[in-house]
């Protein structure tokens, strides 16, 4: 089996397991919707301030809902005792990382694909432009790259799921700043060319942490 097929086999396993229960997707989606609702009350989002606050609300909804999904990806394996089986599979450990990463990305993308139209309707701001989708996708890749590594790391701690956001959020600052700023510039009518520095930063973050996580994942799961 080629490397790519091994990765896809792990992705497919996670997708099938998820399609049977829909636990992760539904909880992420409901949580994302709830956080938008909470922010609506917290900031009283109206036509005059919605462009100012909405980029932050969008990214908080994505990050918070994302943590739920990232946590489940390894905790479920641990609780069902299938983690050892996964680690014993005759594949390179980095294939496990990429399989888990792509699975997590698919779940977060699925949530985003429902969240963005929902927010577009609720706040009457067009969030579905190709440039905006690109920014969200780039930010999500960096987020999931670090998040998948730290999720594998936090199942080894006493606090398990509590540990993940504490580890993840301080390291996530560049993605969050770049994501919020780029989305808010796009909503102000800027084009992709105007926010090229943010795009560059997001691409650099994705590349650096994908490479670092790929190298370090071996050490996380070596027991």
């Amino acid at each position: 089996m080629s490397y790519l097929r091994k990765v896809l086999a792990i992705v497919w396993k996670d997708v099938r397991a998820e399609l049977r229960t829909k636990d992760i997707l539904s909880s992420m989606l409901v949580f994302a919707g709830l956080s938008v609702l909470i922010f609506q009350f917290a900031f009283d989002l109206r036509a005059d301030n919605v462009r100012l606050v909405l980029p932050g609300v969008l990214w908080i909804a994505i990050t918070f809902a994302g943590v739920l999904g990232l946590n489940r990806s390894f905790i479920l394996e641990q609780d069902r005792g299938s983690l050892e089986g996964l680690l014993l599979a005759p594949v390179d450990r980095s294939a496990i990382y990429f399989g888990k990463l792509i699975g997590n990305l698919l779940f977060i993308f699925a949530v985003e694909l429902l969240l963005l139209p929902l927010m577009t309707v609720l706040f009457n701001v067009w969030l579905l432009s190709p440039a905006l989708l690109l920014v969200v996708a780039l930010g999500t890749v960096g987020y999931a790259a670090v998040g998948t590594l730290f999720a594998a790391l936090s199942i080894n701690t006493r606090a398990r799921e509590v540990m993940l956001p504490i580890l993840l959020f301080p390291v996530m600052v560049p993605v969050f700043v770049a994501g919020v700023q780029a989305v808010s510039r796009l909503l102000d009518g800027d084009s992709l060319a105007d926010i090229v520095r943010w795009i560059q930063l997001l691409v650099a973050y994705d590349a650096i942490f994908l490479a670092a996580a790929m190298l370090l994942f071996d050490y996380v799961v070596e027991e």
Binding site: V146, L153, T157, V173, Q181, A212, L216, Y219
Partner: protein, 246 residues
């Protein structure tokens, strides 16, 4: 194997170095507070006095970043060599780094109050970065606390120390771009121009002295913190052995 370590730590060098550092720090306080010239181009006396914090402030910030770099380097060495002492270096350095970064933030806030008129400003990239970095390493220490098994703790903490340190330059770039393209809502001009002053030759001397002294203080603290970590490990070993031997 355990007892040989115990006798080795009694060298005379470190107590001597500790004493020298204490004297140097005391002299540093004198130099910064009394000897260094007053910053002549600052308008109020409060600002002029607050400016003297600068020497400790910069030196503490310097030690903080050096310490976190050492933590990341020791993490890499641990993953490669699997010697427990590298993990001891990593945790000792991280704790000292958190201490000095906190000192850097607090001294900055004390200085900013008379100079900027506020304790804290999110408009300053360096200030924002210091806060982010402090959170990264508090998370690092919390991670260590949440793992009981020493080998696993060392391995996972090394990984986090490396990833955390990698994020520092990117965080700096992000807050930097954020603030340079952000419209200036409060005040005008760059924040460095508020409370800036010209450094005279004597001021540079005091600053370099402070950086040297704090670096030495870091080395001494690291040594004693390492010693503590080694002793702690010996106690754990002895306890385990006592349990096994009943």
């Amino acid at each position: 194997m355990v007892t040989s370590k115990r006798t080795r730590g009694e060298s005379k060098l470190w107590p001597l170095l500790l004493g020298v550092t204490a004297v140097l720090v005391a002299v540093g306080v004198y130099l910064a507070v009394l000897w260094a010239p007053t910053a002549v181009n600052l308008p109020t006396e409060a600002e002029q006095m607050a400016q003297r914090i600068f020497y400790f402030h910069v030196a503490a910030g310097w030690v903080g970043y050096v310490a976190f770099g050492v933590t990341a380097g020791a993490g890499i060495l641990y993953l490669l060599k699997r010697q427990r002492r590298w993990d001891h270096v990593a945790v000792s350095s991280a704790e000292i780094g958190v201490l000095f970064t906190a000192a850097n933030l607090v001294s900055g806030a004390v200085w900013a109050r008379p100079t900027w008129g506020t304790w804290w400003s999110w408009d300053d990239p360096r200030l924002t970065l210091a806060a982010i970095v402090l959170l990264v390493y508090i998370a690092y220490l919390m991670l260590r606390n949440a793992i009981d098994e020493p080998e696993r703790r060392a391995r996972l903490a090394s990984i986090y120390g490396i990833v955390g340190f990698l994020s520092v330059p990117l965080s700096f770039i992000s807050v930097r771009i954020w603030r340079t393209i952000h419209p200036a809502v409060i005040g005008t001009g760059s924040e460095t121009s508020q409370g800036g002053f010209d450094m005279s030759g004597d001021m540079v001397v005091v600053l370099l002295y402070a950086i040297f002294t704090f670096s030495l203080l870091y080395v001494v603290l690291l040594h004693y913190r390492l010693r503590l970590e080694n002793l702690r490990e010996q106690v754990d070993d002895l306890k385990t052995r006592a349990l096994i031997e009943g």
